[in-house]
């Protein structure tokens, strides 16, 4: 069967099981948009290519399937650079197809030419410039294989226009036809390493399971729970791992890190053993590295061998898929007597319970305007359908969402961790809702973030994707304001935004959404209930929140975690 490169490309995506893709056409990718008309793949037309990328990420994060986006050459391709970088930092499987000028024009500064494989080399797991139509099915298969196996990540396939218009004889490659002689992701652990890890775990008196996003990527939440309950070890879940272990579980200490809660941070600092599972000792978790968990031995499990010993030397380093390693640990433990060590850990748990009692997450509530932002998150949480997916932007509101939501299930939390990309929430929420139409999806967004990508609500309205957006409108680039207040002597430079410019309700309505506003605490609940009742279009709620509220606890940047700053009310108590 003779196909054009464009037809072969769409057919290859179908062969990969792609059901939806996000994109926006243009000159160099035009040939590929033609066969979309007859394809089973749903194409969602975005208003800005950054939206397409973040939608594909949101879709991937809640489904576990790779997100797919398609853009044209030049500016279309550069507009999706931020999502690629974001997905690279957070190990999200993403396949981006970009148009390119014809092969003969490459290198001549042709109209809308951009060396996008060069630009994205450092922020993709791999990328390809396709030079022959006959290569398309194989390259697409390679791209999906690389994006989804090992440590997942984004890939880009750049397709020159003449490659999509020329013809090829259709084939679909077998796994052995893939031309990847240098690609062999680690999976199964070494039995000796597993035994060594168990030995350390059996000796520990102050252990912590330090759970990162890799546990979710490996679909390892159940195995994690089994190991946690088997060992009785406390569990912290990083910003990328919220939901990997239920917040309501008595062994869950919550989130560690710069804005983690006191107990999670301090338990890691005082631990004699950290079992890091799919976590990478990010600086936002460790604080000053040489003062991080000084007395702890480390078992480090990661599918990416380059993460082992990168930041912190591990005593036992295991390269492998988290779920497989967790299961191997459980299997090996079956040979040992059950309930081991519960007495041994009792003093440790006593200390942990004491920290929890003294330093719970806290804010001073108010029954007058302005609304406390934390209260909005609590009300959203308490009024949400079970299984609701929460998506956050980047800033104070993101930290409050992570702190005050109660995560019970995996894949219910979508946020931009490693890159901290403002503007992530609205498009990622749309992608999440497309991937899980059966779930309610709430974006908790900042006023600054919202203004970066709000136009995608037009996409959502047009495509009838009923996401809900809560803007914690503090009229500021709040997180930056907080740093200027705390570390720059209250010198506020370029952080004020205004509460009512733009008018978020009118803007929402202009984009085909329901627009609501809550200005005082008693309006919060009713506004949320109203929003929850809408299911045929997107809803935006403008919550007028307290601009002076700060995120606590906080470990100042570059400081040791022991320098954690708790809420002033706790400090008063401590004195």
């Amino acid at each position: 069967m003779q196909l054009t490169g464009a037809q072969a490309l769409i057919k290859s995506l179908e062969m990969q099981g792609v059901d939806v893709m996000f994109g926006l056409p243009g000159g160099a990718i035009l040939p590929v948009y033609d066969p979309i008309l007859g394809s089973s793949i749903r194409h969602i037309l975005v208003r800005h290519e950054q939206g397409a990328g973040h939608m594909a990420e949101g879709y991937a994060m809640v489904t576990g399937r790779p997100g797919v986006a398609m853009v044209t050459s030049g500016p279309g391709a550069t507009n999706i650079v931020t999502p690629l970088s974001n997905a690279y930092m957070d190990s999200t499987p993403l396949v981006v197809v970009s148009g390119q000028v014809s092969t003969a024009a490459i290198g001549t500064d042709a109209f809308q030419e951009c060396d996008i494989t060069g630009v994205t080399m450092g922020i993709t797991k791999h990328n390809w410039l396709v030079t022959r139509a006959a290569d398309i099915p194989r390259v697409v298969a390679e791209a999906f294989h690389v994006a989804t196996t090992g440590r997942p990540g984004p890939v880009l396939v750049d397709v020159p226009k003449d490659v999509s218009t020329s013809t090829m004889e259709w084939y679909w490659p077998e796994p052995e036809d893939l031309d990847l002689p240098g690609y062999h992701p680690a999976t199964a652990p070494d039995a000796q390493d597993v035994a060594a890890a168990l030995t350390l775990m059996g000796q520990a008196e102050r252990p912590v399971l330090y759970v990162g996003g890799g546990v979710l990527k490996s679909r390892g939440a159940e195995s994690l729970r089994a190991l946690a309950e088997r060992t009785g070890f406390p569990v912290v879940t990083t910003l990328m791992a919220r939901g990997a272990f239920p917040d309501s579980h008595p062994q869950c200490l919550g989130m560690p890190g710069m804005h983690g809660n006191y107990t999670a941070v301090t338990a890691m600092q005082r631990a004699d053993l950290l079992v890091a599972l799919g976590a990478r000792f990010d600086d936002r978790v460790t604080g000053r590295v040489d003062a991080f968990a000084p007395g702890a031995r480390v078992v480090h499990v990661d599918i990416d061998p380059a993460e082992l010993h990168k930041v912190r030397r591990a005593d036992v380093a295991i390269a492998g898929d988290c779920r497989i390693v967790l299961d191997a640990l459980l299997d090996a433990m079956d040979g040992q007597s059950a309930g081991q060590g519960s007495d041994r850990l009792a003093p440790w748990w006593d200390r942990i319970h004491e920290w929890q009692a003294r330093f719970p997450l806290y804010y001073e509530s108010a029954d007058q305007p302005p609304i406390k932002p934390q209260m909005v998150v609590e009300e959203l949480r308490d009024r949400a359908d079970p299984g609701t997916i929460v998506v956050a932007g980047v800033g104070q509101h993101q930290m409050w969402a992570s702190q005050f939501w109660r995560f019970e299930d995996p894949y219910t939390w979508v946020n931009s961790g490693g890159a901290g990309t403002m503007g992530f929430a609205v498009p990622a929420a749309i992608g999440a809702k497309v991937g899980r139409p059966d779930r309610s999806v709430w974006a908790v967004d900042g006023d600054g973030c919202f203004q970066m990508t709000a136009q995608e609500l037009v996409t959502a309205a047009a495509e009838r994707i009923p996401v809900k957006v809560a803007i914690l409108n503090n009229a500021y680039l709040g997180m930056v304001r907080q740093w200027q207040e705390m570390f720059y002597g209250e010198r506020y430079s370029e952080v004020y935004l205004s509460p009512d410019l733009p008018d978020y309700v009118k803007w929402a309505e202009a984009m085909g959404c329901v627009g609501l506003r809550a200005e005082s605490p008693e309006e919060v609940g009713p506004a949320i209930d109203k929003a929850n009742a809408v299911d045929d279009r997107p809803v935006v709620v403008d919550f007028r929140t307290d601009a002076f509220e700060k995120v606590y606890p906080m470990v100042p940047a570059g400081a040791p975690n022991d320098a954690i700053v708790v809420h002033p009310a706790h400090e008063r108590l401590a004195r």
Binding site: G118, M121, L129, H145, E176, G182, P185, T187, A188, D190
Partner: protein
Amino acid sequence: MTVAFERANAHEPSERGGERHHILTVLVENKAGVLARVAGLFSRRGFNIFSLAVAPTDDERFSRITIVVDVASAPLEQIVQQLDKLVNVVAITELAPADAVQRELLLATVEAEPDARSQVIQLVGVFGGEVLDVGPDRLTVMLAGPPDTLDSFERLLDTYAAVEIQRTGLVALPRLDPGPPGARRRHEPARLGRIGDPRSG
């Protein structure tokens, strides 16, 4: 997949004997842009390179890049693991300088007025080099040898006003009697061209 490293501390600057130089021979796919991927990795992760030489191999699908890395800029193990993540990198062999046969080529054009000419020719002879080209008042000479021999030769040539010196960067192969075990490590998948086979370790 993982390489066993015996070093206790990842941030110790070198493998043994305090050497900052370490040799990696990297087998890569012979495809467009692969050198840029390798060079880009080194620059964005702040790994320093002393020298780099690229050449085809007897198998046209692959090229070999010989990199002399500065293990003071990053732990060798981190450099190797990051390199190994590049999809086009097929195999990495590490060579401690003491366990490798190393050669580099130097070409130099030197001022050599008739009265100095015989001294230069003599010097080249002592080192076992060759005179490649002769002009009215200049000579172009070459020397192949281990890098430190080239260093001494270069210093001596400088006393005769070297006009231009070019060096290729070194290439290396393991010594046939590699000394104690663990000195050389081959970092290579068990099979080539296959996907999806769960490999342990």
